[in-house]
């Protein structure tokens, strides 16, 4: 015990840790392991066929492609929004700052039907976009719009505190040495926020891959075209194809775990940067 835990005068370690582990095991770990154990019912070729069927592969392509594009757009605009919120005074700034977290607070089904109402052919924006030949709702573009919405806060909220901490002296020194504003941004500020920006991108990407509620309304869910992977799991469940659903779920779980690992490494990089500076 003494090598496992350092001595402390505070009581309650065994109770607190014991309860934490018990609760996590019952609610999270044992249920999650069910997916892996259940998928072992399949032989390897069966598993491989289930997760590489053309319709499934098409759904991976859409899910990952749209998630990547949405996270990239959020990285660009997230950095811009964080910059504007940290650096410039403008009326209504606190309200805007509070509103950033709306996608976290708004239930995904509400986001889904609302975005559909906006981008459908007769919708608020759809009626102007459709004559231009841009169809958003019920196409892969709609998936991208929904994923951009739900991933919006991640980059802003990871970059904001880092921008706040950048020392003005560095920028002043750069200016004195003759750097233009753009050079200062490119060589001083951007490298400093890059770890946080990458973390925010990864968080938005990870969230987008698993997203279901906001997407299914706007996607149209056409097999091979606008069907996301989580929806495919539900479709298989509704056909009582539990094994097939579980096989796809295991693929998604493994990808989520890898992303979680990468995000942890990125966060370590952010901390390492800020302690070094």
């Amino acid at each position: 015990m003494s090598t496992f835990k350092q001595h402390s005068v505070l009581p309650g370690f065994n109770l607190a840790l014991g309860f934490t582990l018990l609760y996590l095991s019952l609610v999270v770990l044992i249920p999650l392991s069910a997916a892996f154990i259940y998928s072992a019912k399949l032989t390897w070729p069966e598993f491989w066929n289930a997760v590489t069927a053309p319709r499934v592969v098409a759904s991976y392509r859409l899910t990952f492609g749209a998630s990547f594009a949405a996270a990239a757009v959020n990285a660009f605009f997230g950095l811009l929004v964080a910059w504007v919120l940290v650096r410039y005074p403008f009326p209504g700034k606190r309200l805007v700052d509070a509103l950033i977290d709306l996608p976290f607070a708004l239930p995904t089904s509400v986001a889904g039907i609302t975005l559909t109402a906006i981008y459908a052919g007769n919708g608020w924006l759809g009626q102007y976009l459709e004559p231009l030949g841009i169809k958003v709702a019920f196409t892969p573009l709609g998936v991208f719009v929904a994923l951009t919405f739900i991933g919006l806060p991640f980059v802003v909220r990871t970059v904001q505190p880092v921008l706040e901490d950048i020392e003005k002296e560095l920028e002043e020194a750069a200016a004195m040495l003759g750097a233009t504003r753009w050079q200062t941004f490119r060589y001083i500020i951007f490298p400093a926020v890059l770890p946080a920006l990458t973390t925010g991108f990864a968080l938005a990407f990870a969230r987008a891959i698993g997203e279901y509620g906001s997407v299914i309304f706007i996607a149209g869910n056409i097999p091979m075209v606008s069907e996301i992977t989580p929806l495919l799991i539900i479709t298989k469940l509704e056909q009582y194809d539990y094994a097939g659903a579980t096989a796809i779920a295991v693929v998604m779980l493994v990808i989520s775990f890898i992303l979680l690992l990468i995000i942890n490494l990125l966060q370590w990089w952010v901390r390492h940067r800020s302690t070094k500076a």
């Binding site: 835990k5 504007v84 977290d101 708004l106 239930p107 698993g210 989580p230 469940l237 579980t246």
Partner: protein
């Protein structure tokens, strides 16, 4: 006598070297605000506009019909069970992780975040695999006439799963930043562990606790994907508000769907206001803590 006119010394143009030119500044502000208006403000306005499209009477009828009321009740019930459980878990986990040094601590911290990286659909699926008819416990449950999947217990379980990390991940960094000197002093002066928790720790973390609870509650009441898998969509029985929105929408009853959705949007707005207030208090408390 001629006065020699002194050269007019005008103040040197005040140029802040770490500021962009005004037009660059306003271009960036406008660009950021247009993006946010398009992606945040427009949807928010659209929910309420679509909900009230046919007037107040239709709106009120949609949110007071029996199925909607049943959905409200179930949503409140699920949150009333899930949030307190995750609150106790959050305090226990934060106490173990923030106050003690032990091996495997960083792994435990990552495990707590795990539900955030699992797709909600997968979260629902794993409970079907355990408690569903074809699942591990399925035959036993049927023998004893207990239903979990396509019933309220399944909805509660799925809600707990997706909201596990919220309170713990708020409390852990907060308690780590505050240190344990005050608690150690209390214990040395003879207070019991529970007294210390109740009189020292909880008052210190109350705003962080509130912050985590608000976010946890918002997600618990709004969860869709995980709940959708285990619910079975039985009107009036296993329909939460979020699911009710979907059913109404798929029946092309758009005004009613948006009316129910506007209730959830209001909840989101209240969440944002409370969250902003709690956030300010947490920031206040941690800066004060750092000064002392």
């Amino acid at each position: 006598m001629t006065t020699i006119p002194l050269p007019q010394i005008s103040p040197a143009p005040h140029k802040v070297v770490t500021q962009e030119s005004p037009w660059a500044r306003w271009t960036l502000i406008l660009l950021a605000l247009s993006f946010l208006s398009l992606f945040l403000l427009l949807p928010l306005v659209a929910v309420f506009f679509e909900a009230l499209r046919k007037g107040w009477e239709v709106y009120l009828a949609a949110i007071t019909e029996p199925d909607a009321l049943a959905a409200i009740r179930l949503t409140l019930t699920a949150a009333a069970i899930a949030v307190p459980l995750n609150l106790i878990f959050g305090i226990a986990a934060a106490w173990a992780i923030a106050k003690f040094e032990f091996r495997g601590k960083s792994i435990l911290t990552s495990l707590i975040d795990l539900p955030f990286s699992v797709s909600p659909v997968v979260a629902g699926l794993i409970y079907v695999l355990i408690f569903g008819l074809q699942g591990w416990a399925g035959p036993w449950l049927r023998e004893h006439d207990i239903s979990i999947i396509f019933a309220v217990p399944g909805i509660v379980l799925a809600t707990i799963f997706v909201t596990v990390p919220f309170i713990a991940r708020e409390l852990i960094p907060l308690m780590q930043a505050q240190g344990s000197e005050e608690e150690e002093a209390a214990i040395i002066l003879g207070a019991s562990g529970w007294q210390t928790l109740w009189h020292i720790t909880l008052p210190n973390i109350k705003w962080g606790l509130l912050y985590g609870t608000i976010l946890c509650n918002a997600r618990a009441m709004g969860e869709f994907g995980a709940v959708s898998v285990v619910s079975g969509h039985i009107r009036g029985l296993t329909n939460t508000l979020s699911l009710h929105v979907e059913i109404l929408y798929n029946e092309y009853n758009f005004v009613a769907a948006f009316a129910v959705a506007s209730l959830l949007a209001l909840l989101a707005l209240v969440t944002l206001v409370l969250k902003t207030l709690a956030e300010a208090k947490v920031a206040q408390q941690t800066t004060r803590g750092n000064h002392s």
